[in-house]
């Protein structure tokens, strides 16, 4: 400690301060680069067309036009898209969390033949790109006459919710002593009561974390809604936003004025639920990311 202080005193003080100044400036500059586009989206969403692409840029529109958000809904049924996405998201989150916790309960508190092998097989499916199963899965749902319904978008999540969710629950359940459950193994009533009254209440933080991951996956998904939803009344926000742009681009020629305010308004609407959820449950978002890093 004293040696370090001595080194600083021997004239190394100014370079260390210069380094601190440099890193602090870097922190702020990078924060600007990460944060500014979001500010610009909100600012643009509240502008009049004539305020959009002026030089110099207008940072704060003098009279914010909140009606832009309603105008978006006149171009396309945007609020309906929000509702659709909410239904799909809730269905996939509930199904994923529920079935993942049950499967993980089986893997963590019950001994059966081949448990280890099955578990490793399950983990290995994490490596599979979804693109490999995309086409046959589409054909299955096509056979079931479920194309252009919400079913293909959440039903697969009701089968265990994916390897990562099961893994996370299992890791957590393993920390809860088995002997608590051993006595309860005689009949089914006890098996499920142990799950309901002990495991579920204890794993609320894990459940919130996973719910957020499911929510984000579902809300942001583009490829599968694009494939499965064919009529506009069924679109999700992401697909709807994409069509909003085409629609607006088609209108630009007629109107002859910029329309980015509407596109930004639509974008802001579609990111709002995630942002609100993030500010309420920030801790769990961060935890989810860290947990996904731990699985390696």
């Amino acid at each position: 400690m004293t040696a370090g202080d001595a080194a600083t005193a021997r004239g190394a003080r100014s370079p260390i301060q210069a380094w601190d100044v440099f890193t602090n400036i870097l922190t702020v500059v990078l924060a600007f680069m990460f944060g500014f586009p979001l500010f610009w989206a909100v600012s643009s969403a509240l502008k009049l067309p004539i305020e959009l692409n002026v030089i110099p840029p207008l940072w704060f529109p003098p009279a914010p036009r909140w009606s832009n958000f309603l105008e978006v809904n006149e171009v396309l049924p945007f609020f309906r898209f929000m509702g659709n996405t909410a239904v799909i998201t809730v269905a996939s989150t509930v199904g994923g969390v529920l079935t993942a916790s049950l499967v993980a309960y089986g893997f963590s508190h019950f001994r059966f033949r081949g448990r280890q092998a099955i578990f490793i097989l399950m983990l290995s499916t994490m490596m599979l790109p979804m693109e490999v199963t995309l086409i046959p899965t589409y054909l299955i749902f096509n056979e079931l006459r479920m194309v252009d319904t919400f079913w293909p978008l959440f039903l697969p999540d009701w089968f265990g919710g994916g390897p990562f969710a099961i893994f996370l629950f299992r890791q957590f359940f393993l920390s809860i002593p088995r002997d608590l459950s051993d006595a309860a193994k005689i009949d089914g009533c006890h098996v499920m009561r142990f799950f309901r009254s002990i495991l579920v209440p204890l794993s609320v933080p894990v459940m919130i974390t996973l719910s957020i991951l499911f929510f984000q996956g579902s809300w942001n998904e583009l490829m599968r809604p694009l494939i499965y939803l064919t009529s506009m009344t069924n679109y999700t926000v992401s697909v709807g936003l994409m069509f909003l742009r085409t629609q607006i681009l088609a209108n630009v020629a007629q109107r002859g004025e910029p329309t980015e305010h509407l596109l930004m308004a639509g974008s802001v609407i579609s990111m709002m639920p995630s942002l609100i959820l993030f500010f309420i449950l920030q801790r769990y978002f961060i935890r989810g990311v860290i947990m996904s890093g731990i699985k390696g």
Partner: protein
């Protein structure tokens, strides 16, 4: 093993029954939505299948087509390798810088962390439209600033064949930097502070402390974000599909876009399945190569017990 189950008797059998019952949703889902479709798509990859006609066996013809006849296969693979090769290392460097900046005693740490993380929760379509606007060549903010600050005429970004890939890389850096930073930050905080103190006493400078303490101890985390980043980057699709659709002049025509077009625009499900299996194999080979070389630079502390967590 078997003896133990037999000796457990009735209770053991009940336990086994419940175990199987509880994992049955996953087993069913695995057969229905993973194993089944995988085998079926492997079969399709050897067929000519112009949906809704029936698939017809053509042997290796689709694989030959990909490598010998389909120019767009090679082009899309090259575009994707370019994108992966630049976006992944650059992204890790950026996230590492962010993590190191936050791994200091600075006021408002949580605020900075939130700002860096926020772009990652923006849905990919919104993020892409935001970039389309900011990087608009004629009246976008970026080119406006380039002109004002440096009197430089900005490039065409999304509208330029040479600049479109770098622009998508910038988009990826912006939207994926945060989560990777969080993972690296968690890794950094596991590095014991005493090691730095000891190194300082020995007179090791900032650069040497970083090279000889931080990097080796962080290497398992770096390896993890490298592998997951690689796999994710190979599958870039959404951002391209809603903006350039692969243009201009196929400058952003990435692999999964080719696959998607073959499958759901041309309905060539046989050839699209071939492309899907080739993607799987390519990603697998890349991952295995990384694992092969990981021994040279990834150091697991204690090698045996600490890697579990």
């Amino acid at each position: 093993m078997l003896a133990r189950y037999r000796s457990r008797g009735r209770v053991g059998r009940i336990e086994e029954f419940w175990g199987f019952l509880l994992i049955s949703p996953w087993v069913l889902g695995f057969l229905l939505f993973t194993a089944g479709p995988m085998l079926v798509s492997l079969y399709f990859s050897f067929t000519e299948y112009a949906f809704p006609l029936k698939p017809a066996w053509v042997g290796l013809a689709n694989y030959v087509k990909a490598f010998a006849k389909d120019d767009l296969f090679g082009l899309s693979l090259w575009n994707t390798l370019y994108y992966v090769g630049v976006a992944v290392p650059l992204g890790i460097c950026l996230s590492l810088i962010l993590a190191l900046l936050l791994d200091r005693k600075i006021p408002g740490r949580a605020v900075w962390r939130t700002i860096y993380y926020l772009p990652s929760i923006v849905p990919v379509v919104s993020a892409t439209f935001l970039f389309l606007y900011i990087f608009q060549p004629d009246y976008g903010l970026i080119n406006g600033w380039l002109w004002k600050l440096f009197e430089v005429e900005g490039p065409g970004w999304f509208n330029s064949r040479t600049w479109v890939k770098p622009t998508f890389i910038l988009l990826a850096l912006w939207s994926a930097g945060g989560p990777t930073m969080i993972i690296l930050l968690a890794g950094l905080q596991n590095v014991p502070g005493e090691m730095y103190d000891a190194a300082k006493v020995d007179g090791a400078g900032r650069g040497r402390r970083f090279r000889h303490i931080t990097l080796p101890l962080l290497s398992p985390t770096l390896f993890f974000v490298l592998i997951t980043g690689l796999i994710a980057a190979f599958k870039i699709f959404g951002a391209v599909y809603v903006s350039t659709q692969g243009g201009p002049f196929y400058g952003s025509y990435f692999y999964v876009l080719h696959l998607f077009t073959q499958a759901f625009s041309h309905w060539q499900l046989g050839y699209a399945s071939t492309l899907a299996w080739l993607l799987f194999i390519i990603v697998l080979v890349f991952t295995l190569i990384q694992f092969k070389f990981s021994g040279g630079w990834v150091h697991y502390e204690g090698e045996t017990d600490n890697r579990a967590s």
